[in-house]
């Protein structure tokens, strides 16, 4: 569990995160969403969570231990908390896919055959094994994103922080991202996702935090956070369309598109309207 206690963060003198106190990863919360408009401080919070930035005041704890910022502690922290940056190009260091994915594993000093095994495993998991020998700069944006994720996933860290994982992905890419996240969370991986893609978040998350101008203005499950249209409007966000169907058309609240379109009862009732 990651706990933030009265965390403040400022760039120079400009406060970005304001008195944030939350507990990430309580029982039953495997996929956690951090939602907020552009500039609300999502990426800044992520950088604080991996110890790249240090809170101006307040403390962050992981499994009860307060973050320490010496080299050794940070190294341990980052084995527990892996981050995939918003801009995946930024994350890629080597020029060939497999080298880049193996990079962090070499840094961990794992034996060679373990590295080979893990690289193959994540490349298969992300369905990019066929790209292993390709130079990264010739990949598409979505493929690069997956390579960046692979490089972190290979670490087998307890936490995975995904900053805007669907930005720039086509519908198929988004679909795959949902499948990937669902698969990972089934295996007990804890995932924190930042996004303003409301429909994506609605479908994928167990628990949500609404961030506005550096403050957590609301938290809860999808029913509580997405039900309040007013607060979402204040945060310049839209309600997920499944929630809109529920609130504005009086349909049941479906948890996914698939659930809606396979609701036999609804389909028969709609048929009578013709």
């Amino acid at each position: 569990m990651i706990e933030l206690e009265h965390v403040n963060f400022a760039y120079e003198d400009q406060p970005i995160l304001k008195d944030i106190s939350i507990k990430l990863g309580e029982e039953g919360q495997n996929v956690i969403g951090l939602i907020g408009q552009n500039g609300s401080g999502k990426s800044t919070m992520f950088l604080n969570l991996v110890g790249i930035l240090q809170p101006t005041s307040g403390a962050i704890r992981i499994d009860g231990n307060t973050y320490q910022y010496d080299k050794k502690s940070l190294n341990e922290l980052r084995q527990k908390v892996g981050i995939v940056f918003q801009d995946s190009e930024q994350q890629l260091f080597y020029s060939i896919v497999k080298d880049d994915v193996a990079f962090a594993l070499h840094n961990l000093g794992l034996p060679e055959d373990e590295i080979v095994r893990r690289v193959r495993e994540v490349l298969t998991q992300l369905d990019i094994l066929q790209l292993k020998d390709r130079p990264i700069q010739y990949l598409s944006g979505g493929q690069k994103k997956r390579v960046a994720i692979a490089g972190i996933l290979a670490l087998h860290s307890e936490w995975l922080l995904l900053d805007e994982p669907t930005a720039g992905l086509d519908p198929d890419g988004t679909r795959r991202m949902i499948d990937l996240i669902e698969g990972l969370s089934k295996n007990g991986q804890k995932i924190l996702i930042s996004s303003h893609d409301m429909d994506f978040m609605y479908e994928i998350g167990d628990y949500f935090y609404l961030l506005q101008k550096g403050e957590i203005v609301r938290q809860g499950t999808s029913e509580t956070v997405f039900a309040d249209d007013e607060i979402l409007k204040q945060c310049c966000l839209d309600q997920p369309w499944l929630m809109q169907l529920h609130q504005k058309l009086g349909l049941p609240l479906y948890s996914s598109k698939a659930q809606l379109f396979t609701d036999e009862q609804l389909i028969t009732r709609l048929a009578t309207l013709k």
Binding site: L47, V50, I52, L74, N75, R78, Q79, G82, I83, F85, D87, E89, Q90, Q91, L92, F93, Y94, S95, I96, K98, D99, A102, F103, A104, H106, N107, L108, E112, D113, V116, V119, R120, K132, P135, I136, Q137, Y138, K144, G151, I152, L155
Partner: protein
């Protein structure tokens, strides 16, 4: 992604042994620092043409890679050659000010010429090496030579840094060009000024980002080479 890097993987010399390329580069450096000017004058066009051939780019594109470094070479040359001298015949193109003549010092000119040639030779040779040798091969080369890991790290980060630099330059220049920043001389001067300022800021930001990502990937200061098993 850093655009120049791709040439290192897709050139006619990519499959050459890195040791051979490393030795050739070293040879180029010796040429750059030896005193006979004529050899350098021959080496520069030869290596430049060899690079354009191997990397399959035209002269125009090749020249563009120099834009990013020209301001710095120019600055250092000017710093050496331009002086204040008490007598008008000590300088070329002297302008009288504060009781002295500002101009290109006659005594310094040969030195400036030498320096220009030396730097240009070194850069042309280094570009040849960087454009034809993939990142991984460079590490392999250094490891084979039993370089200390600190030196390998420094060198590779610098290598990366050059790409960041060129990349930032291209991005800013393109953005300015798209919005007619170089439409006439006055605008060009203005844009070039902004370009230099932005370049420094951008490089620092990009460098910071690179450090973040190295941190996230638990970089310990040692680069490793992958044996080809995956």
């Amino acid at each position: 992604m850093l655009s120049i890097d791709k040439y290192a993987y897709n050139n006619l010399l990519a499959k050459w042994r890195p040791e051979v390329k490393g030795l050739l580069w070293l040879f180029g450096m010796i040429i750059a620092f030896q005193p006979i000017m004529v050899i350098k004058l021959i080496a520069i066009p030869t290596v430049a043409i060899a690079t354009m051939w191997a990397v399959k780019v035209n002269f125009h594109q090749y020249l563009k890679w120099f834009y990013a470094v020209i301001p710095f070479i120019a600055l250092s040359i000017i710093g050496i050659a331009v002086t204040l001298a008490p007598r008008a015949d000590q300088v070329y193109g002297g302008i009288y000010m504060f009781g002295n003549y500002l101009g290109v010092a006659k005594s310094m000119l040969p030195l400036a010429e030498q320096l220009t040639l030396r730097i240009t030779t070194a850069i042309v040779c280094t570009y040849w090496f960087a454009l034809t040798t993939p990142f991984q091969q460079i590490i392999l080369l250094f490891k084979h030579m039993h370089f200390p890991s600190l030196l390998i790290e420094e060198t590779l980060l610098m290598y990366r840094f050059i790409f960041i630099f060129v990349d930032s330059f291209e991005q800013i220049y393109r953005a300015q060009q798209l919005r007619f920043g170089y439409a006439n001389l006055r605008l060009s001067m203005h844009s070039a000024g902004i370009l230099v300022k932005m370049l420094f800021e951008q490089v620092i930001i990009n460098y910071q980002k690179m450090v973040y990502s190295l941190d996230a990937k638990l970089f310990t200061g040692e680069f490793t080479v992958q044996e080809d098993k995956i």
